[in-house]
């Protein structure tokens, strides 16, 4: 069982502003933005409780939230590492060595793609094209989703050391 989720006060005012972007009665349009917000406030994943709170905010049924959350690849329906390394595995990045680097990351962290390290810090999540093919291999890390481009083994070593130090 996961813990009960609550939006922060700041998020609540943000939610009110987001809903106003859409016509009256069309508040369901705010679903994707609210799921991003809930995921960010729930430590990087969407528990059932978090999705239920989104449903309550939008006055829709929980099932309407679950069916949408499970469709889109950015929403994590299980607990992930603190840092999700979303690394591109699509053609153009592979042309410039992405496969070798993904395997390097697996070896270095001692986990396979889709798994989380024992300390709960890292999950390797191969993703499809990130629209950065000119600067591949590329990965990004939520919740800021800053791109790390032109990846090399050395850059991955540095990045992991840096994130470990941050804890």
């Amino acid at each position: 069982m996961s813990e009960e989720f609550e939006f922060s006060i700041k998020a609540k005012s943000n939610i009110a502003e987001i809903i106003k972007r859409y016509p009256e009665g069309r508040q369901k349009s705010a679903l994707l933005p609210l799921l991003h917000l809930a995921q960010e406030e729930n430590g990087g994943w969407l528990s059932v409780s978090a999705m239920d709170k989104v449903a309550a905010e939008l006055e829709i049924l929980p099932i309407e939230v679950y069916e949408v959350a499970s469709f889109y690849s950015m929403y994590h329906l299980k607990k992930m590492g603190k840092y999700v390394l979303e690394v591109c595995r699509t053609g153009p990045c592979c042309n410039v060595g992405a496969e070798e680097l993904i395997h390097y990351m697996e070896e270095k962290l001692g986990v396979a793609c889709g798994e989380t390290t024992a300390d709960g810090l890292f999950t390797i999540k191969p993703v499809e094209c990130l629209a950065a093919c000119g600067s591949g291999p590329v990965l990004q890390i939520g919740p800021d989703y800053h791109y790390r481009e032109h990846l090399t083994k050395e850059k991955i070593d540095l990045m992991i050391a840096e994130l470990k130090a941050k804890g």
Binding site: R21, P23, R26, K28, S29, A30, L31, L32, P33, L35, H36, L58, I60, E64, E67, V68, A69, F71, Y72, S73, M74, Y75, E86, R89, T90, G91, P92, C94, N95, V96, E99, E100, I102, H103, C113, G114, I124, K125, P126, V127, E128, C129, L130, A131, A132, C133, G134, S135, G136, Q140, G142, P143, D144, Y145, H146, Y147
Partner: protein, 445 residues
């Protein structure tokens, strides 16, 4: 051949800010449109310009605009498709990141032309950085009176919002995008009715790509005829090409349509030739969905004519010997690249991204991926190539949206042009593609 419309000021420091953007003539089209032109006059200029949709389909923008149901008393919407996800394509992200106001200005002028009072920019969720940049630019535009009530003292009011996606390639298809914007799964809708009649919330809606909209200010400022004078024939204006793969200078280039492909690949002004002194093997010229062509056919048509970067020249020869300009995602393969592995990789992508609504695509993309995986990993049969072509043919044209074609074309074209390489994988799996010996399948779901 060096006309720049979108990236003329890309190197100007601070061009991402409203202040510098205005110093370079930015937002002039909003003033001109609101003070001097009727909405219909703008639509006419866009028609005259010959501008074609820059997202990949190449449909004439002015014609798309003129389909908007003007008799309806419902609100009208303009929605910008910034869900750039076609492998090989990164031009919209580049433009929004560096010159966000060019999109905002285009949205305002286009919304006025279409009579939209509320407009949305649907941005790929993964591009959170771009979303923050656009939100900042929009707030600057509100402060300067280019958005909100009574823009520049006119009768016209407009609200503009950024809407983040949730990660789904299919949402780049316009009706899936509208579903997603309504808070639903990204399942494409049957057409007709087209969005121009039944779009967002059942209201008349135009959905246009980022680059398409960013061209509108120039057309308003200089006129449709001036735009049509750039380029060749029905390929008017400039096009952003995002070049990647095994080249010396990957990046986004704005070209006047008509540059020879050979010049684009080898000139230092553009891609700068094949990296590491290797030879050119193949090109996917317009994003992963378009047919792959071997070096000989991308440089020259089957008739021996030099191939040009235009809609017409790239499609010369149809799908037998030609391809498409598509989204402008230009992927270059050197002699060391394995076409079988690349085709399998793309098939996995389409399988992963199929929304599952239509059986031929949901099932067919999975079959393509599995059979290609088998061939790539040395367990294929010589009959598999015909099987792949057969499956591809049974997806194509049998689905609600074009993802079916997008999944079928790369496979059919790879086998058409590189059948010997596929057969080699079957006959001598140990000696052809080394990649699979080193790396097991990555993150298969």
């Amino acid at each position: 051949m060096g006309k720049k419309i979108l990236l003329e000021h890309i190197d100007v420091p601070g061009i991402n800010t409203l202040e510098v953007y205005r110093q370079k003539g930015g937002y002039e089209s909003v003033r001109k449109a609101l003070k001097e032109m009727t909405p219909d006059a703008i639509v006419e200029e866009v028609k005259k310009s010959g501008l074609r949709g820059r997202g990949g389909a190449g449909f004439p923008t002015g014609m798309k605009w003129s389909f908007l149901d003007k008799k309806s008393d419902k609100p009208r919407y303009l929605v910008c498709n910034a869900d750039e996800s076609e492998p090989g394509t990164f031009k919209d992200r580049y433009l929004m990141q560096h010159i966000p106001h060019s999109l905002i200005e285009g949205m305002i002028t286009s919304s006025y032309a279409l009579g939209a009072k509320t407009s949305y920019i649907y941005v790929r969720g993964e591009m959170m950085e771009v979303i923050r940049i656009l939100e900042k630019a929009i707030s600057e535009a509100y402060s300067a009176g280019f958005l909100g009530k009574n823009i520049l003292g006119s009768e016209y009011s407009l609200d503009l919002y950024v809407h983040p996606g949730g990660g789904a390639y299919i949402c780049g298809e316009e009706t899936a995008l509208l579903e997603s914007l309504e808070g639903e799964r990204g399942n494409p809708r049957n057409k007709p009715p087209f969005p121009a009649v039944w779009g967002l919330y059942g209201c008349p809606t135009v959905v246009n790509n980022v680059e398409t909209i960013a061209n509108i200010p120039w057309i308003v400022n200089h006129g449709g005829e001036a735009y049509a004078a750039i380029g060749i024939g029905k390929s008017t204006g400039t096009k952003l090409i995002s070049a990647c793969g095994n080249i010396n200078k990957p990046g986004v280039y704005e070209l006047e349509l008509g540059v020879p492909v050979e010049e684009f690949i080898y000139s230092d002004q553009y891609c700068g030739g094949i990296a590491n002194g290797k030879k050119l093997k193949a090109v996917v010229a317009g994003g992963s969905s378009v047919p792959i062509l071997p070096a000989a056919l991308i440089l020259k048509t089957a008739l021996g004519e030099p191939r040009l970067m235009t809609y017409e020249s790239l499609s010369e020869g149809g799908f037998i010997t030609g391809t498409m300009l598509g989204s402008g995602g230009f992927i270059v393969y050197d002699e060391d690249q394995c076409i079988v592995r690349n085709t399998w990789n793309f098939s996995r992508f389409y399988h992963h991204e199929s929304c599952g609504q239509c059986s031929p695509c949901r099932e067919g993309t999975g079959w393509l991926e599995k059979v290609l995986h088998k061939v790539e990993y040395g367990h294929g049969k010589l009959t598999d190539m015909d099987l792949l072509v057969d499956i591809a043919g049974k997806i194509e044209g049998k689905t609600i949206c074009p993802l079916g074609e997008a999944a079928a074309w790369p496979v059919a074209s790879a086998i058409r042009h590189f059948r010997a390489e596929f057969e080699e994988h079957v006959k001598h799996p140990e000696s052809c593609c080394k990649m699979h010996l080193h790396y097991e399948m990555i993150g298969n779901h």
